[in-house]
C-alpha cells in the first residue's frame, strides 16, 4: 500500500476530523450515556422480576425449534403447553404456577450448552428438560452435572447419557441426568425382535453420519446376535445430516440387494429420503424397511410420509397402553392440535408432570431434593407405568408395529402394534456378549 500518497493522507485527515467532531459534541455523548444507562437498568429490572422469585416454578426446556428437525421442537412445545395449562388450571405445583421457558438448540451442542447456561444463570430455572439429538445430549449431560441442575431428557436416545461414566469410553451418565423416554437400546431391541419375526436374512442400514446412525447399527447387530436372529449385515450407508439428495446412497443400498433395511434417518431428512426412495423403486425392491424414528417424524409431518405396510417404532403410542390416562391425553391433544400426539410431545408433557411430582413430594425446588426424588422414582403417565432405573433411565417399553393408515384418525398408526418389555434385565440378556452398555 502507498502510505504517503496524497489521497490516503487526505482520507486519514478526513477520518480524524470525523472522530474529533464526535468527541467534541458532548450533548450526543451524554444522551448516549443516558440511553445506555437506561437500557442497563431495564435489563437489571427485568432480571429481578424475571428470575429468582418464588411465586412460580420455572423450568427451562431446550429443543430443536429451527432447521431440518424443527418439527420435533414444535411437537414438544405442544406437550409443554398442554401440561402447563392443565397444571396451572388445577392449582399449579403446590399452589404455584409453572412457567416453562423453551429455547432453540438449533441441533447444535454449542447452542444447547449456551441456552442451558443462560436458563440456569440468567432465568434461574429450577430444573431443565428437553433435547432432540443424541449428539447434543452427549455434550449436554456433563454440563448438567457441572451446573448441578437436574436434566430430564425427553427424546434424545443415546444410551451413553444413561450409562454411568466409566462403564464405556463414551459413557457420560451422571446423577443429574435422567431420561423419561425410551433410549436407543430399548428401541433397537424392539427392532431386533421385529427382525426375528420377518422373512429376511440380508440386512442393510442407511443412517445419519454421526453417533446416532452408527450406534443404531452397532446395537442392531449385537441384539440380533444376542437374540439368535438369523441375519447377515451386507450394506451400510451414512450420509451426512441435511443431505438434500439421497439418490446416490439409495442406489448403493439397492445395488447390494438386501432383504430388509433398518433406517434411523429422522426429521426432514427422513421425509426427503422416503420421497427419493419411492422414486428409485426402493419399496418394490426391498421387502421390509424398519424406520426407527418413524412415527415421531410421520405424525409431525404434513401428509403421511411413512409407506403403509413397512415397520416403524415409536417411543410412545397414542393407543397403547389402552388406559384412561393415555386415552384422555390423546383425545385432548387431538382436539387441540388436530393431530395424534408424537412421542416427543408426550415426553415433554410428562417431564413437566415429573417435576410437579418431585417438587410436591419433596416440598422443595432445591436441586438436591429434585435429584433425590427422581432417583428411582416410580411414575405413571400416558406412556404407562414405569420407574427410573439405577442409571436414571425410564423403564418404558419398546414399541414397534406395522404402519397402517387409519381413516378414523386420518393418520398413520401402528397396527398391529407390539409392545416389548425392555427393562434392564431383558436388555442385558439380549445384548449377550456385546461390549455395548444397555444404558439402563
Amino acid at each position: 500500500m502507498v502510505a504517503g500518497s496524497p489521497d490516503n493522507e487526505n482520507k486519514r485527515n478526513r477520518n480524524r476530523d470525523i472522530d474529533a467532531g464526535s468527541e467534541s459534541r458532548s450533548p450526543v455523548g451524554r444522551r448516549r450515556f443516558l440511553q445506555a444507562a437506561g437500557a442497563g437498568a431495564t435489563v437489571a429490572l427485568a432480571g429481578c422480576s424475571g428470575g429468582g422469585g418464588d411465586d412460580v416454578v420455572r423450568l427451562g426446556a431446550t429443543y430443536i425449534l429451527s432447521g431440518f428437525a424443527s418439527l420435533y421442537g414444535e411437537a414438544a412445545e405442544r406437550g409443554i403447553e398442554m401440561a402447563q395449562a392443565e397444571i396451572n388450571d388445577n392449582g399449579g405445583i403446590d399452589g404455584r404456577d409453572v412457567e416453562v421457558i423453551v429455547r432453540d438448540t438449533e441441533a447444535s451442542a454449542d447452542t444447547a450448552i449456551q441456552q442451558m447456561r443462560s436458563l440456569v444463570e440468567e432465568d434461574n430455572v429450577h430444573g431443565l428438560f428437553g433435547l432432540d439429538s443424541s449428539g447434543v445430549a452427549q455434550a449436554v449431560a456433563p454440563q448438567a452435572a457441572q451446573l448441578e441442575m437436574p436434566f430430564m431428557i425427553t427424546h434424545a436416545a443415546t444410551p451413553f447419557v444413561t450409562s454411568p461414566e466409566g462403564e464405556h469410553e463414551d459413557s457420560v451418565g451422571n446423577d443429574y441426568v435422567f431420561r423419561d423416554s425410551n433410549n436407543l437400546t430399548q428401541d433397537i431391541y424392539g427392532a431386533a425382535r421385529t427382525a426375528a419375526e420377518l422373512d429376511a436374512t440380508e440386512w442393510a442400514t442407511i443412517g445419519p453420519d454421526y453417533a446416532f446412525g452408527y450406534e443404531t447399527w452397532d446395537y442392531f447387530q449385537d441384539f440380533c446376535a444376542g437374540l439368535g436372529v438369523d441375519a447377515e449385515f451386507t450394506a451400510e450407508q451414512f450420509p451426512p445430516l441435511e443431505t438434500g439428495d439421497y439418490t446416490p446412497y439409495i442406489s448403493s443400498i439397492l445395488d447390494a440387494e438386501p432383504d430388509a433395511v433398518l433406517t434411523p434417518l429422522w426429521g426432514a431428512d427422513l421425509t426427503t429420503f422416503i420421497g427419493q426412495a419411492e422414486d428409485a423403486g426402493w419399496f418394490d425392491q426391498i421387502d421390509h424397511t424398519l424406520f426407527s424414528v418413524g412415527m415421531g417424524t410421520d405424525l409431525a409431518s404434513d401428509g403421511n410420509p411413512l409407506p403403509e405396510g413397512e415397520y416403524a417404532s415409536t417411543r410412545y403410542d397414542p393407543f397403547a397402553p389402552d388406559t384412561e390416562a393415555n386415552n384422555a391425553f390423546r383425545d385432548a391433544y387431538y382436539e387441540e392440535y388436530d393431530a395424534l400426539p408424537t412421542y416427543n410431545a408426550e415426553g415433554a408433557y410428562r417431564a413437566v408432570y415429573l417435576y410437579k411430582e418431585a417438587i410436591e413430594s419433596s416440598g422443595s425446588t432445591e436441586t438436591s431434593a429434585l435429584v433425590d426424588e427422581f432417583t428411582g422414582m416410580e411414575h405413571s403417565g400416558p406412556v404407562g407405568d414405569y420407574r427410573f432405573s439405577e442409571t436414571n433411565q425410564a423403564t418404558v417399553s419398546s414399541i414397534w408395529g406395522t404402519v397402517t393408515y387409519d381413516d378414523e384418525w386420518e393418520s398413520n398408526v401402528l397396527d398391529p402394534v407390539n409392545v416389548y418389555d425392555a427393562g434392564p434385565d431383558v436388555l442385558s440378556e439380549a445384548l449377550g456378549d456385546s461390549d455395548l452398555p444397555a444404558g439402563i
Binding site: F238, P240, D245, P248, D255, A268
Partner: protein, 297 residues
C-alpha cells in the same frame, strides 16, 4: 466394510444420477466461473443465488401458477434481477479500490448471510420438495436399475446451456465484448465498451444460471436454507478443478464431481463427500491452473 468386485456395483442409474448431479453443479459453477473470468469477482453469494432460484420456483409452483417450466424461468430471472441489483449497488462501487478483491469477497460473503436469513424469514427453516413436471414424472428402468426420467431432462438442459453459452460467447457481438473486456478491461473501456454495464450484464447472466440450477434441482432434492452453503463448496471445487473462468472446464469439472458424488457411496459407506476435496487437492498440486483455462475455452 468390504470391497466387493467393482463392475457389478456401477449400474446405469449410478451414471445417470452422477451426470444429473454434475449438471446442476455445472449450472452454478459456470456462472461462478463466468463472473470471476470477466469481473474478477469471486462471488460467495452464488450458492445463495442457487438456493433462491429453488425457493422462488417452489413458491411460484405452489402458490401462483402450477406450471414448473414457467416457475423455473421465473425463478432464474428473479435471481438474475437480485444478482444484477447486488452487483450494481454493492459491488460496482468497489472495483477501483486498492483492496478490491478482499472487499468484494467480504461483500459477497455478507450477502450469503443476508440471503440465508431472508429465505429463513420468508419461507421458514423447514425443507420443501416438489414433484418433477408431470410429463417427466415417471421412472425409467434400465439395466436393472431405476431412476427418474426428469434426471435425463436436467442433463439435456445442462448440455444445451453449455452449447448456448459457447455460441453466445464465441459467435455474438456481446460475446466478443465479454471476451475482450475479460482479457483487457482498460483497453476495452478506451475502445468505447461500457464496462460497468457489461459487468452488470455478465453478473445478471451468471446469476440467472445459478437460479436456473436451483430451479431445475428443486424436484430432485429437498430445498432448505442449508442448500446454498452445501452447493457453493462443491461449485468452488468444480471451478478449481476445471480452471477459474473456463466454461468447458466447469462442465468437465462438474461432471467429474457429480460422478464422484454418485459412485463414492458405492465403495465407502461414509465420508464419500470428502472425495471431491481430494480430487481438488490433486489438481491443485499437479495442475494449479485447473484442467482448462480462460473465457471461451
Amino acid at each position: 466394510m468390504s470391497l466387493p468386485s467393482l463392475v457389478p456395483l456401477i449400474g446405469v442409474a449410478d451414471v445417470v444420477i452422477g451426470l444429473s448431479l454434475g449438471s446442476r453443479l455445472f449450472l452454478i459453477a459456470v456462472g461462478l466461473s463466468l463472473i470471476f473470468g470477466v469481473l474478477g469477482v469471486l462471488n460467495f453469494a452464488h450458492g445463495g443465488f442457487y438456493m433462491l432460484g429453488a425457493y422462488v420456483t417452489l413458491a411460484v409452483v405452489t402458490g401462483l401458477i402450477d406450471n414448473f417450466w414457467i416457475a423455473a424461468v421465473a425463478g432464474a430471472l428473479a435471481v438474475g434481477v437480485v444478482g444484477a441489483t447486488i452487483e450494481f449497488a454493492a459491488i460496482r462501487p468497489l472495483y477501483d479500490r486498492v483492496d478490491a478483491d478482499l472487499d468484494q469477497l467480504i461483500v459477497t460473503f455478507g450477502f450469503v448471510l443476508v440471503i440465508h436469513e431472508a429465505v429463513r424469514f420468508i419461507w421458514g427453516s423447514g425443507s420443501y420438495s416438489i414433484d418433477p413436471p408431470d410429463v417427466f414424472n415417471f421412472s425409467v428402468s434400465l439395466g436393472g436399475s431405476t431412476f427418474s426420467a426428469y434426471r435425463l431432462v436436467v442433463i439435456g438442459l445442462a448440455i444445451a446451456v453449455l452449447a448456448g453459452l459457447w455460441l453466445f460467447i464465441t459467435r455474438t457481438y456481446f460475446g466478443s465484448l465479454v471476451r475482450g473486456t475479460s482479457s483487457d478491461r482498460e483497453m476495452a473501456s478506451m475502445l468505447g465498451v461500457d464496462v460497468p454495464r457489461l459487468y452488470t450484464g455478465v453478473f445478471f447472466l451468471g446469476s440467472v444460471l445459478a437460479g436456473l440450477g436451483g430451479a431445475l434441482s428443486a424436484p430432485l432434492q429437498s430445498t432448505s436454507p442449508a442448500l446454498g452453503d452445501q452447493v457453493i463448496i462443491d461449485a468452488f471445487i468444480v471451478v478449481v478443478i476445471g480452471g477459474l473462468g473456463s466454461m468447458s472446464g466447469a462442465f468437465v469439472g462438474a461432471m467429474l464431481i457429480g460422478m464422484m458424488q454418485s459412485l463414492g457411496p458405492q465403495f465407502i459407506s461414509a465420508g464419500s463427500i470428502a472425495i471431491p476435496f481430494l480430487a481438488m487437492v490433486i489438481v491443485l498440486l499437479f495442475r494449479p491452473e485447473g484442467l482448462f483455462g480462460g473465457i471461451g475455452e
